[in-house]
C-alpha cells in the first residue's frame, strides 16, 4: 500500500522535458515551406501533358466516328442484300409466260370472276 502512495501521476504537473535548438520554431514554417516541392514539379510528375495526350481525344473521336460509319454501312449492305434475295425469289415466282397462263385457264375451267376472287383471297 505504501508503494502505491509513492507515485500518483495526477500528483505531478505535466512537464515537457524536451527542448529544441534555439530559434527552431521561429523558422519552422519557412523551413517546411522551403522543403515543399514546387507545384510545377508536382504537375510535371503527375500531369505532364505530352503531344500524344493532346491529340489522343481527337484520335478517339475519329476512331469512334469511323466505327459508327462502318456499322451503318454494314447495316445498309446487309439490308440491301436481303432485298436482292427477296427480289430474286419474287422473280422466280412471277415469271410465267402468257401461253402458260392461257393453257392453265383453259384446262382449269375457271371464269374471270372466280380467277379474280381466288387471286384476291390468296393475296389477303
Amino acid at each position: 500500500m505504501e508503494k502505491e502512495k509513492k507515485y500518483k501521476l495526477e500528483e505531478h504537473q505535466p512537464h515537457r522535458p524536451f527542448s529544441v535548438p534555439e530559434g527552431y520554431f521561429d523558422n519552422l514554417t519557412q523551413n517546411i515551406m522551403a522543403a515543399l516541392p514546387e507545384q510545377e514539379q508536382l504537375y510535371s510528375t503527375h500531369i505532364k501533358v505530352t503531344p500524344w495526350m493532346r491529340i489522343r481525344p481527337y484520335l478517339y473521336a475519329a476512331a469512334a466516328f469511323t466505327g459508327i460509319f462502318f456499322c451503318i454501312k454494314a447495316a445498309l449492305m446487309i439490308s440491301s442484300s436481303n432485298d436482292n434475295v427477296q427480289m430474286a425469289q419474287a422473280e422466280e415466282t412471277t415469271i410465267y409466260t402468257d401461253e402458260y397462263i392461257d393453257s392453265f385457264l383453259e384446262t382449269a375451267m375457271i371464269d374471270d370472276y372466280t380467277l379474280y376472287y381466288s387471286l384476291v383471297e390468296t393475296a389477303n
Binding site: 509513492k6 507515485y7 522535458p17 524536451f18
Partner: protein
C-alpha cells in the same frame, strides 16, 4: 508578404485556386499546426532530429496529396492522421533496422537515447517517466501523450485517431495504471 490569419473556410477556398493562393493557404496551415504536430511526434520518437524529419515528411505528404483531402474532414484531423501514420511507420522501421541492446522492456535504449540527447533536459523522475511511457504499446502511448502532454480533448483525439471517446478513456486509464505500476516497481 505577411502571413494570413488562420481561417479554415477561406483556406479551403484558396486551396482550390491558383498555385500562389494554394501555397499561401498551405503556409497558413503549416504556421498554425507545425508546433503542436512537432510535439506530438517528438513525444513518440524522443529525438529532435527524427521529429523534425517526420514533421517535414508529414507536410510534404499533405502538400503533394492536397487534392485528395478536399472536404474530407477538418484540416487538423487530416494532418494528425498523416503525422500519426508517418510516426508509426518510422517506429516500425526503427525497430527492424536498429538492433536494440536492451532488456525486454527497452529501458536501456530509452535511457541511453535520452542521456545522449542534448535537447532532453528532464530530471531523473522525468527520464523515468519517459522510460515508463516507452513500455506502452504504440497506440496507448499516442493516446497518453496526446492527453497528458499535449492536453488535447478526448473528442479531438477521437477525430485524429478514428477511435471512440470511450475506448480512448479506457486506453488512457490503462496507460496511467501501467506507468504508476512501473514507478512503484522501481522503488
Amino acid at each position: 508578404m505577411a502571413m494570413m490569419a488562420y481561417d479554415e473556410r477561406r483556406i479551403l477556398e484558396m486551396l482550390r485556386e491558383d498555385e500562389i493562393s494554394r501555397r499561401r493557404a498551405f503556409e497558413s496551415i503549416v504556421n498554425n499546426f507545425s508546433e503542436q504536430l512537432y510535439w506530438q511526434i517528438r513525444h513518440m520518437v524522443l529525438s529532435h532530429e527524427d521529429a523534425n524529419d517526420i514533421l517535414q515528411n508529414t507536410f510534404i505528404k499533405a502538400w503533394t496529396n492536397i487534392d485528395s483531402f478536399m472536404g474530407y474532414s477538418r484540416i487538423s484531423t487530416w494532418l494528425y492522421r498523416i503525422a500519426v501514420n508517418e510516426t508509426l511507420t518510422f517506429l516500425n522501421r526503427q525497430r527492424t533496422t536498429v538492433p536494440l541492446e536492451t532488456d525486454e522492456e527497452g529501458e536501456l535504449s530509452v535511457a541511453d537515447r535520452l542521456e545522449s540527447d542534448p535537447y532532453f533536459d528532464g530530471d531523473l523522475t522525468e527520464r523515468q517517466l519517459q522510460e515508463a511511457i516507452a513500455t506502452l504499446p504504440d497506440k496507448q502511448r499516442l493516446v497518453f501523450n496526446m492527453k497528458y502532454f499535449n492536453e488535447m480533448k478526448y473528442e479531438e483525439i477521437s477525430e485524429a485517431l478514428g477511435t471512440s471517446v470511450g475506448a480512448l478513456k479506457a486506453s488512457f486509464h490503462i496507460a496511467v495504471k501501467k506507468i504508476e505500476e512501473y514507478f512503484n516497481n522501481i522503488d
